[in-house]
């Protein structure tokens, strides 16, 4: 879980810095980074680790023609040195930072939600990552987080408002509504799923894509979840 005050842990941040973190989790981590200068400074350290490792890696042999062909390719490039792109002016009221904006659009108020019941709504975010399901949730003030259960880990990033559960209170309560970006995982190890949630009576009202534990998941949710898995 994370929000400002609950930061991305080193081990997760290292997965992101190394490039190993897959897309679903990366959306939550990178969007948190956009909102958290402190974690961006910590990321810089972990990227410096990557730089040191690149320096000490056992160098490969490159072909004899590598430099001449590189020089030739550069010679064909337009001689326009890169300049820093100008900061884009605010187009309307941009409230959602990158990278999440590329997935759901710029404004929270323009998002097309699917209703979940009890006033809650969600958007399933399509990714190329079969290891995680990413959803944006909208939960009215005072209402419970839609009940769900799944194996493996879950990351929650609060975009607006706050929520609390048995592990604590998350997010600064400065907005009228509550928002969560939830990234849920199917556990890669079946044994782990069983030990995490052995109860046959568990329900799966919102995180439909996390498990096959009940029949409450909608067919469309399952289709989204299974999409990545059926790819060759």
């Amino acid at each position: 879980m994370m929000s400002i005050g609950h930061h991305v842990g080193d081990e997760l941040l290292a997965e992101y810095a190394s490039g190993a973190l897959s897309e679903g989790w990366g959306i939550a981590v990178a969007t948190h980074l956009a909102l958290c200068p402190q974690c961006r400074r910590r990321l810089a350290t972990l990227e410096a680790v990557g730089g040191e490792l690149l320096d000490e890696i056992a160098a490969a042999t490159v072909s004899d023609s590598a430099w001449s062909s590189l020089a030739a390719r550069i010679g064909h490039l337009q001689q326009a040195p890169a300049t820093k792109p100008a900061r884009q002016p605010l187009a309307g009221q941009i409230t959602i930072p990158e990278p999440l904006r590329s997935y759901v659009g710029a404004r929270i108020d323009d998002i097309k939600w699917s209703r979940l019941g009890s006033g809650a709504a969600q958007v399933l975010i399509k990714t190329g990552d079969a290891s995680a399901t990413v959803r944006l949730l909208k939960i009215p003030a005072g209402k419970p987080v839609p009940e769900h259960s799944h194996g493996g880990r879950e990351l929650t990033l609060v975009l607006r408002g706050s929520f609390h559960d048995s592990t604590g209170t998350y997010g600064p309560a400065i907005w009228k509504r509550r928002m969560r970006l939830v990234s849920t995982s199917r556990s890669p190890a079946p044994a782990r799923t069983a030990s995490a949630s052995p109860s046959p009576t568990r329900r799966c009202a919102s995180a439909a894509s996390c498990c096959d534990c009940c029949s409450r998941c909608s067919a469309s949710d399952r289709a989204v979840r299974d999409k990545g898995k059926t790819k060759p």
């Binding site: 190394s18 990366g26 200068p37 320096d55 490969a60 550069i74 890169a82 990278p99």
Partner: protein, 212 residues
């Protein structure tokens, strides 16, 4: 072959590929320092200095190839990705800011992003420092170059001093594109062990860097 980096950088270069034998740093006993690399990078960014770029290529090309080869199907693909990385370095050279990180770190991030784009099915979501919706960092002083240099030296020492099991896990994570659960699977270790070793390693690196 002995070779003086500082003099090479200080000399005016013609924008021509050097003729004759080019130095290869694999057989050079002392590697260029981060300062040497930074000066070369600045020369490329400022003057489009092809000879400085060639020296960067001699240092980083074989390393980037090795990094790509950890994931690529064959050496041909690895070398092509190395070339693409170096072209991106050439194109973005003017954006290199020595106050934000050393050259190796900057090139690592470019190579990492290209490797994910080329060799993985999913994307690597990234924030954008120019994004108006990003929460800007107001606390960072304008120029941290000196502190960064000290950090970089301390980091190098601290990484060399990591216990073998921790260093191995970090290399698997950075070189082999393996998540912690994939590392755990491969090494037949409990995921908790992998995570705690990695946490421990980074705690050591951080405390070493804060010991200025």
């Amino acid at each position: 072959m002995s070779f003086n980096w500082k003099i090479m950088v200080a000399e005016p270069f013609s924008a021509k590929t050097s003729s004759g034998p080019v130095p290869t740093y694999q057989d050079k006993p002392d590697s260029p320092t981060p300062d040497d690399l930074s000066a070369l990078m600045m020369a490329v960014g400022r003057d489009r200095d092809l000879q400085a770029f060639e020296l960067l290529f001699r240092h980083f090309g074989p390393r980037i190839s090795a990094y790509m080869a950890r994931l690529a199907a064959d050496m041909g693909t690895a070398e092509e990705l190395m070339q693409e990385t170096m072209i991106a370095v050439w194109n973005k050279a003017a954006l290199y800011d020595p106050a934000k990180g050393n050259v190796s770190t900057w090139i690592f991030t470019i190579a990492r992003n290209l490797r994910v784009d080329a060799l993985r099915k999913d994307k690597r979501p990234a924030f954008d420092l120019e994004d108006p919706a990003l929460v800007a960092d107001d606390t960072q002083p304008a120029d941290e170059t000196l502190q960064l240099k000290q950090h970089s030296e301390l980091l190098k020492i601290a990484m060399a001093g990591l216990p073998a099991d921790q260093g191995k896990l970090i290399r698997m994570c950075y070189f082999d594109d393996l998540s912690h659960s994939a590392i755990a699977e491969r090494l037949k270790l409990p995921i908790g062990t992998v995570k705690s070793r990695i946490r421990l390693a980074f705690a050591k690196l951080r405390s070493a860097m804060e010991a200025i």
